[in-house]
């Protein structure tokens, strides 16, 4: 039976709070620039993740989405600019990651470790964080393969472990890179419900995905990256209004068409941090 990721036993946090659109940014990138050799990957990128909002960072391959994710996580150092958590510059530090959860795109765990090993390891790296591992195991349906080497688990099973690691500590900020990749439709829907529940609990959530239809019912804010520059920032509603499109996918396609035609950023919608 598929686990109900949206209502995992014991994973409600005392700090849960209602969504707060328009609230000050929890995690933000300010004027971030990055180049690898002669290649400019990000140029003066501004991004703000607000509590209780899901921000979809979209863009074609090579647009800088992964590098931006990694800069927010501290895996890549920006050439210029800074990362702020609750308005405090945390660039180059590591303690702030106690409030971040990260779900990478490819859950390549060591073949001989089990889900129990991985969760135990991550748990031991955050000794000060309160967490209920048993509830997480139940909530993500990991019990049936908890002690099986991950090398023999299916991609979907590994992806569930991946999600469990990201959400284990009830972090204030979630960075999810293609979170539904490799999941069957039922598990995908269940994870999306769980992400929506995290939004209701007040988490600031960043999602990147190529499958825009996957994000349609999750996205509050849209950031379009193209060639390392932010070409559009706004709510999903304002994107629909600006493009006349009814879906996120068509709206983004229209944005890309206009951007390529004019060669200039589309702009920033009202009410963005």
């Amino acid at each position: 039976m598929m686990p109900d990721l949206a209502s995992p036993t014991g994973l409600r946090h005392a700090g849960d709070r209602a969504a707060a659109p328009g609230a000050p940014a929890r995690l933000a990138a300010r004027g971030v620039r990055k180049s690898f050799g002669a290649v400019n990957v990000l140029a003066d990128v501004e991004l703000a993740l607000a509590p209780g909002r899901i921000t979809a960072v979209l863009g074609p391959n090579g647009s800088g989405k992964t590098t931006l994710n990694k800069i927010l996580l501290g895996l890549v150092r920006p050439d210029a600019g800074r990362v702020e958590l609750d308005g405090v510059d945390v660039t180059g530090t590591d303690a702030y990651r106690a409030r971040l959860g990260y779900m990478p795109q490819s859950p390549r765990f060591p073949d001989n470790l089990s889900a129990r090993d991985v969760l135990g390891l991550v748990r031991s790296l955050r000794p000060a964080a309160p967490v209920d591992l048993d509830a997480s195991i139940e909530g993500f349906g990991l019990a049936s393969y908890l002690d099986r080497p991950l090398g023999v688990c299916s991609g979907g099973q590994r992806q569930r472990v991946n999600a469990a690691v990201a959400l284990l500590f009830g972090p204030d900020v979630l960075i999810l890179d293609e979170p539904t990749a490799g999941l069957d439709p039922v598990a995908s829907a269940s994870l999306k419900d769980r992400i929506a529940a995290e939004r209701r609990a007040g988490r600031a959530i960043l999602i990147t995905s190529h499958v825009l239809s996957e994000l349609e019912d999750l996205t509050d804010d849209v950031v379009l990256l193209l060639d390392g520059r932010v070409h559009y920032t706004g709510t999903l509603t304002s994107l629909r209004d600006a493009t006349g499109a009814h879906t996120l996918e068509r709206g983004v396609a229209e944005l890309l068409r206009r951007t390529i035609t004019t060669g200039a950023p589309i702009g920033r919608a009202e009410g963005q941090a």
């Binding site: 990651r97 106690a98 001989n112 135990g120 390891l121 031991s124 790296l125 000794p127 000060a128 309160p130």
Partner: protein, 293 residues
């Protein structure tokens, strides 16, 4: 429902999670990062088929030398060149390949609130301990089942374990350094194999050529410097000084034995190997801390 051993604390508000007390407590417990990562690495690598194969090959080779050579001390003496070639080669190849294979998982660990230095030490020790353990098991089991771990062979066996562990530490650190520096797995592997070939095979040829070409000059000090510049030469010299087998010394080892004698020679080679461990460790930690993943 399956349970984990940990009992969990009351869940608190997210806003309280970076309270000074909690942060301080986390800081105080940071040494556990090395232990936790090292333990996980141990679980992973100790069950790796290539590490198991490495241990089995060493068992078979030591057993073969026993059957051909006789006593424990003689078998260990015969093992010398095998150890000097095989340990650096296996550590070099496995270290680079393993670094790249676990790259994504390393990124996931880097996304946790841990200092990079601690994480690197966890990864390094987690690589070092299983490989050194496989080496120890490989040369010890035949000694045990032949009842040959006697007073005569015990000091030499201990020295073999120390030198084998040191070579694993040196080449493991170099492999991680190369792995961190070069994102291209094949390039890193090629470079590592080149370094191994240089240190294990080509170096003595170069030294002999130098000794022949400059035979009219006093070469003791340059030869000692040449020995210190190669960890495999240092390891060979340390072992041969204990074996007291001049025929196996090679040119640089013979110079060291004549210049320093046994005990001093062991101290010097031990210090040299310690420097050879410290240098790549320092380079690798530095590269790991500065790397964009």
């Amino acid at each position: 429902m399956s349970t984990l051993n940990t009992r969990f604390t009351e869940i608190t508000a997210p806003s309280a999670r970076l309270a000074p007390d909690a942060t301080r407590a986390a800081e105080e417990r940071r040494p556990s990062v090395v232990g936790a990562v090292c333990t996980a690495q141990w679980r992973e690598i100790a069950r790796n088929r290539w590490v198991l194969a490495y241990a089995v090959v060493l068992v078979l080779l030591t057993e073969a030398l026993f059957r051909m050579g006789g006593s424990g001390a003689r078998a260990l003496t015969s093992l010398l060149n095998l150890v000097l070639l095989l340990v650096p080669l296996v550590t070099s190849v496995f270290g680079v390949v393993y670094w790249h294979a676990s790259r994504e998982f390393t990124e996931l660990l880097l996304a946790q609130p841990v200092p990079r230095r601690s994480l690197w030490w966890g990864l390094y020790l987690g690589l070092l301990v299983p490989l050194a353990g496989a080496f120890a098991v490989g040369i010890t089991l035949p000694l045990l089942w032949h009842g040959a771990l006697d007073a005569e062979s015990l000091p030499l066996w201990s020295l073999y374990l120390t030198v084998g562990g040191a070579l694993t530490a040196v080449f493991g650190a170099v492999a991680l350094w190369i792995g961190v520096r070069y994102d291209d797995r094949l390039r890193g592997l090629g470079l590592m194999l080149g370094l191994w070939f240089l240190a294990a095979v080509a170096y003595d040829g170069f030294v002999i050529w130098m000794a022949t070409a400059f035979s009219d000059w006093p070469l003791e000090n340059p030869m000692l410097a040449a020995m210190a510049a190669n960890p495999i030469d240092l390891a060979r010299t340390a072992l041969v000084l204990r074996l007291d087998s001049a025929a196996l010394l090679g040119y640089t080892g013979a110079v060291l034995a004549r210049s320093l004698g046994g005990a001093t020679g062991l101290l010097v080679t031990g210090f040299g190997l310690a420097v050879w461990i410290a240098l790549p460790v320092w380079l690798a930690v530095r590269a790991f801390q500065r790397k964009d993943f």
